[in-house]
Symmetry: D2
Subunit: 443 residues, 4 copies
């Protein structure tokens, strides 16, 4: 069933059978052209092949049905292509797919699709990063409580939290650029990777073919050296994981008892079939679902690194759906988080209220720090702990307890120093400073 | 793209959106009927609901598109159902989905589909086990070499290898029966699992509903207790793994240099786009590809065990595609192995030839055993090792080397004893005995 | 570094090298005894072997260092055993390990250790289930809010939540019993599984050996049929996952803003190095960490199902540490949750306070239900939604809003009916009923 | 039990508890020094702290036992450190760990250890790549058959296979350099990442601290932004996978029936406990075992990307053992493959013999190509297929069959052209060319 956590319309379209055949046709056309340039294949034959590749519509149903017997879709595709070329020019048909092997077509087509898919992700991550950067700047001083181990710790600002999300996505964007430069590559080696059919012209054809397709020409054919595929998969897994962390934080912040953030409202969105009052997370759930599955898809792809000899006997085949699935998950998570962040509902009042939930206990550390110069560390620690217990037991503000004991127990501590300890301004300022430095650095 | 290792037509059909809606409709119809029997819902309303569920065709596209906003497909489905019931009888519409929650519908529908999917797998595993049992009996005494760590060890029979495969599938079949009894269950608890809307009638409605659907009524609602789902997934992963082991053994046995077994030939099957002479494995590759991915699908499903409070926030959603995918992989592997075994090409001559590949070294252990009574263990070991080295160095049969040294070095060993050591008859007999015992036990 | 989420002292002790050698020695002693009973091995030799196995202390360091070259620990172990037997009786040394192969010793030893490990887990799960059953009964009517998708839904009781946890562990306990009956088995087949060295006596020796060790004698040797190992791993993964779900729920309930449950306090426990006021979750974190890793350990074990021919070339070796690791994780999670539950801090006041957090919105569904008889479903729904909006906008209790509109908008609804809609007593009763039914059923 | 596939002595030593404490002490010493330089901490106090960190031996047993209650090892470590500093200078004790949080210490220590571990791997991968480059050059023209889908395809050279392995490891080495530059980073943020305790001096202290430790200072604290850890894990997984592919190829080539390559012989290595004649793979098995597990360890690490708010509640803890385990597996695989390659036994005669196994069928494609100019593609294809069938049926060399039909069926084909088709020289030359180009490019 269609699954909003597993793919998007755009990725579905990109990886649909017809698109894959178009990419395979692009490879065969480019191969013919490159071979003609290298004077391996007659120019006239190459022209016919390129023309058929560009103009014909291939029968995807037949091709993908035939792979059950053929073992891969390239064999029936080349058969269909050869037949169609042959109808126009019998001689040209002899040059279709010349010197190549099924895996050359399939892997190169995968790389062409991966290039487009990475571009899509890069574009949408850019949008998300732009929105996050704006929001982080805007909310750099909006107080909220920082939480560690799901316990309230000390104050941060909302902008600080957003900047932390952004920092991860900035690294992902840098990784994507690196990937586009280093992991994409032409696959071209013929049956066992040696380009034997081309004699001494092999390297020249390879370089021209790579140029035609706009893919880097690798140092060696990589039929069973799958680190490129694994690297792309790893990046997708990490990117989706970072998005899942953002979505997870939002879901936690949406909890009824916190209610600090909310997914954007929309008619019919997030309702419950049984509970009319609920406003459930929706898009963030799908992002979390995507991020729950991707580590395992990455693991599966890594398990495919073990490909035997000059072509994998099963491990190559196991790869096929995994990369498109990972792209689908990454894009689904990207759009889910983008939509959420673009319309993010922020409740500063709730954040302020939650800052008060402990009645000042979250300032205990600062209070201790303020007292250390007067009492030494361990005595300051001991006293504050006692006051904390007293505040909890009596359900009273820690500041009141502290003030009530100050004169007698820490006479050197001034009332103003005590008040300062319970004022989060410095902590918010530190958070804002971190946000500002981070945003400045990325300009 | 369609992937012969990831699913089959039958499983695709079973888990397609329309089938899922039919199962969801079956739940709603049964819920209405059960509620009417428990006098919670008016009989007339229940009749209308049941009739609409049985006769109407739901708009799958609309429903599955709407889940992006709704958060799950049950909400738009119930909306569509309510609307259609309402067109016939406004009062009845008020009773649609009464007391239930989205997860009740979705999980119960999953269980109904899982029951059918398990039945399909049971049926096809049975066919495979029947063929394997026949073949194992027939080939119980066909000599072949046993291989450990991919090295030739000592003789077995082909039937022994087949019986080993069968033993695993017999355990899987027993597990499937266990699973059908214990892991399938109605899901029914309402919003938080308490059936609160039904007051004291909850348990009665649940039992009647379970009876209508033919699913066991569990001791407790399992909205966030997902061991049943994990158990089904684990079984599917194990079954696919066992099939992958069989496929892997066949691929190894098909290696050009071994050529003991072959996939059944078929027009256009297993050809290479570049090498006309090759007869490649095809179906077994897809089975191996399935088995390469399933451990990770199982891992993903296990990661979904951590579902928060009374309904998982993402982990439940992450589950959705995984079980159908696991069923698809398991069935794809079953049919691939079934087709392979039904037409398995067996070359007893190749097996006999390979038994000779070491020129007798695989009998070294037996030779040692024959000499121990005369020389003691360590001396026998030492001598045989020396003879083995001599045989390897001179590329001569070990039997000849042994015979040449026998009179001088082990005079107590008779020529007949020596000949016996190189006769695999006893070893084949031991293999055949194991096959026979195993087949007898399963009758 | 020692990791409280990865193992326990008891499991470390059980799977330490010395324990493993003891289990291997138990196998060799039993093999000698069984072979002597079957008149395959001289009684005197068997007696010496058994005595050495029982009395000698093997050099674990030497044995486990030697496996780097030998390929497995059985080879140097058997060498050491043979040497020690030989020092007492040269003839007996010839019968050490007679007819067996390394994998027989290693797999059977694994099964002996697994049997003990399962017993430990069964014992501690029993303790946990006992505590949970008592607590669930005691807290069956303690009101708390049910939460779906991390949003407040409708009331449940604390006992209901506890019973849900217990239901999963009860299923796990049933699975453990099943596993102990069906998955444990003797491994015994000799080099390729045929017991060829024993001639016709093979089956008899196998049965006697199984009886000596108290392990079931399987229908077939399972050197490369690893479903038993995978099943044990799957059970461990599911059990740990269920424990992780419990721990995760507790961590969520410990959030500062919820503060409904707490880990038992202890000196020095859960403090923060920087924040003296915090009381962090500790044991539950380790349980969650265990449950985060186990799906991947299970996946790895399932990936080992693909073992080639008659002995796996790497996949068998990959298995070795995985089962002990899974046992370690499962036991660590069990003890972490057991300790937590035994001293679980429960704050009914906090639960009651949280029930009020939405100011009555969580009763919207009940209010709707009460109004449906008077207004029809859709009108009731529409009105309640409007009232909810009004309540949220004005930050007022929904009950007040409803009462203010009742007379004019739903005159047929009595004030008492309205009050009832906001009284969770029925919902708590439903939860308590489910608890009671579940506890009764398990008696 | 010690497991040669899971770690090495050097990695065990690097990640042992004591080494981890030394790295943590290095962090605290550098923090004190950096804080003193920034005039946040008194110089004298910093000097005492640094001295204690450098000279004292911490009680690892106590610290790692205490983490069960404390929740992490940093808390008891800082306690122990503070106590020891306090014994020398009570004032200095107040400044221990000032402004930092447990996760700062632990994550930074992990990064220091990771840096050393990456250096070890880089060093040993370099050794392996050097040996492979030499071997690839030496064996660039040694004929062997290329195999796809485990079927013989067309000739390659041994050097070509080795160069393919090397190509993967070269990419891994480039990735390692990238990783060392980009993924290593100081962790330093205090309780929630804001460095609040340092006021405006935070960034300055961070930079000085980074400089002291020789770690890059990141743009933002990464307490819950774990992409760096995931990237290191991914690289380790890919590197181990590439090593597993090499090991797997060698195991396949060691099969009795192929016998082209062998692990280096050593006394007591690879023997069978039951079969004196066997020479089993050993080190390659452990490398394959490592590569079988690593995809799942990577998956587990990726699952830890989802860390809540400002500190993960379980997911951070789940990470701890995974990175050391991945380093252990990667190094174990590196050394296993290095040892194997350094002493690799190569049997050119066996490779030549296997090239003849199909009696010329592997030249069918070349024969077809030679005939296409004379007959057109489809007729050439048809004829060669017929001849192949005849060769197989009669167990005769394809060259003989072809010659017998040449004059009548393809009169235009000269005897010399036919002979050339069966001469692999061109194919070997193409393979050698690819090797040479690849080796030249990496100079």
């Amino acid at each position: 069933m269609p699954d909003p956590s597993a793919s998007t319309e755009e990725m579905d379209r990109l990886f649909q059978p017809r698109s894959r055949l178009l990419a395979m046709a692009a490879f065969e056309a480019a191969l013919a052209a490159a071979s003609a340039e290298a004077v391996v294949v007659p120019k006239a034959a190459a022209a016919v092949i390129a023309d058929v590749c560009a103009s014909e519509s291939f029968d995807a149903d037949e091709i993908f049905a035939a792979q059950r017997l053929a073992g891969n879709p390239a064999i029936p595709f080349v058969r269909q292509l050869t037949e169609r070329v042959g109808r126009r020019d019998a001689d040209a048909a002899a040059w279709v797919h010349f010197g190549a092997t099924s895996q050359d077509v399939i892997d190169s087509a995968t790389m062409l699709l991966a290039r487009d898919a990475l571009a899509i992700l890069g574009r949408d991550l850019q949008r998300l990063r732009d929105v996050l950067a704006l929001l982080a700047a805007r909310e750099a001083e909006t107080p909220m409580v920082g939480r560690t181990l799901l316990q309230q710790a000390i104050p941060i600002s909302l902008g600080f939290k957003l900047a932390g999300w952004l920092a991860g996505l900035d690294r992902a964007a840098a990784g994507l650029a690196e990937l586009t430069d280093c992991a994409l590559a032409l696959q071209f080696g013929g049956p066992v990777g040696t380009l034997a059919a081309f004699g001494e012209d092999g390297p020249a054809v390879a370089e021209k073919l790579a140029a035609h397709l706009g893919l880097p020409c690798p140092a060696f054919s990589w039929h069973t050296e799958r680190s490129r595929i694994a690297e792309i998969g790893a990046w997708l897994g990490i990117a989706t994981g970072l998005l899942g962390k953002i979505a997870g934080d939002i879901i936690l912040a949406m909890q009824t008892e916190l209610a600090e953030l909310g997914e954007p409202a929309a008619a019919g969105k997030g309702g419950s079939s049984a509970m009319p009052h609920k406003r459930n997370p929706v898009m963030t759930l799908f992002a979390v679902a995507a991020a729950t599955r991707t580590p395992h898809l990455v693991g599966a792809l890594f398990a495919c690194l073990a490909q035997a000899h000059e072509r994998g006997a099963g491990a190559w085949h196991a790869e096929w759906p995994l990369l498109p699935q990972l792209f689908g998950h990454a894009h689904a998570a990207t759009l889910a988080v983008l939509d959420t962040i673009e319309g993010l509902e922020i409740d500063p009042a709730a954040m302020a209220r939650n800052l008060e939930a402990t009645r000042g206990l979250i300032y205990a550390e600062r209070l201790t720090a303020a007292m250390i110069p007067h009492l030494g560390r361990s005595e300051a620690h001991r006293l504050v702990e006692a006051w904390c217990r007293e505040a909890v037991a009596g359900d009273r503000p820690l500041a009141d307890i502290a003030e009530s004991h100050r004169a007698r127990q820490v006479p050197a501590l001034t009332a103003e120093e005590l008040r300062d300890a319970f004022d989060p301004a410095d902590q918010i300022a530190a958070a804002a400073r971190a946000v500002e430095a981070m945003l400045r650095q990325r300009e």
